[in-house]
């Protein structure tokens, strides 16, 4: 081990770098459907960061809300909007 740096700190750094990359990709994505899928992946990474920073309670909520419920709501709302657009085109 490098002097003064513990294993958990290395893991934290790796997770944070991944999180930063995922967040940048998420912001640069322009397709709403892709964004909904990506935000799920981003939510999962955020949950891992929470675990590594010793907040398992928050990580629990983050996995279910951030990685499942939020993308699902976005997808369902997008489906609804698509449908209305199709109807107004007719």
């Amino acid at each position: 081990m490098i002097a003064g740096i513990s294993a958990i700190e290395i893991l934290q750094a790796i997770a944070l770098i991944f999180l930063g990359v995922a967040a940048t990709v998420l912001v640069l994505t322009r397709q709403p459907v892709s964004q909904a899928i990506l935000i799920s992946f981003y939510g999962l990474l955020l949950a891992i960061v929470f675990v590594l920073f010793q907040a398992p309670d928050v990580a629990f909520s983050q996995i279910v809300i951030g990685a499942i419920a939020l993308p699902l709501m976005i997808l369902l709302a997008l489906a609804k909007i698509k449908k209305q657009e199709d109807e107004s085109e007719k």
Partner: protein, 242 residues
Amino acid sequence: MFLASAIGLAIVLGCGFAGLPPTGDYRGPYGDVVNAVTVPERNVTDTVTAVNFDIRGFDTLGEEFILFVSVMGVLLLLRRQENEPRRRHEDRDKGRQAVPISDAVRVIALLLLPAVVVFGIYVVTHGQLTPGGGFQGGVILATAPLFLYLAGEFGNFRKGVPRTLAHIAEAVGGGGYAAIGLACMGAGAAFLQNVLPLGSKGTILSGGTIPLIDASVGLEVAGGLVLVLIVYLEETLELKEE
């Protein structure tokens, strides 16, 4: 323009980060006090749950009602109005063959369904012992109907997940929390003051009122989220049989 503002932001952020205390250097007194107090005074091993459902139980009641009101708002906005035409479900891509759900997805979803239910109940009931609790467990329970949806047709989902039951769960859970608080007042203590025997440390019945509040929050969250899922799915997919 972007480059200029990005550099400016980077400088400001850099100055800010330089002044931050190192990771894990906690300076406030409250965390240490809570850590020292919850185990001996409440016989609860998960401090976060003790803070949420006992020490600041009144704030959590407010948070729970935020969720309750949001769910009500979604239900109100997505309700079917009398003059709303009942449209048939039409595929956007006419004449497309719908892809059948593969057997692998069905089998895995049906296998995971009971596991998720058990795990959700575990997380709700062990909130005072390990990380988790009413909110987290409730959300996990609410994902169980999604497996039912993945495993079959929307009709099965409607039959398997009765809407009335979700309504009752949400109402009983939301009202239960306030009722526990009032019952504490009935016992001659303050609102939501922990009046029940605390039990022995590390057992499932430890923590006095905390497991009860946990269970009611779990019911409320699970019921509320399932309701939101049901109305969203109904609104989006329309009903094929109509």
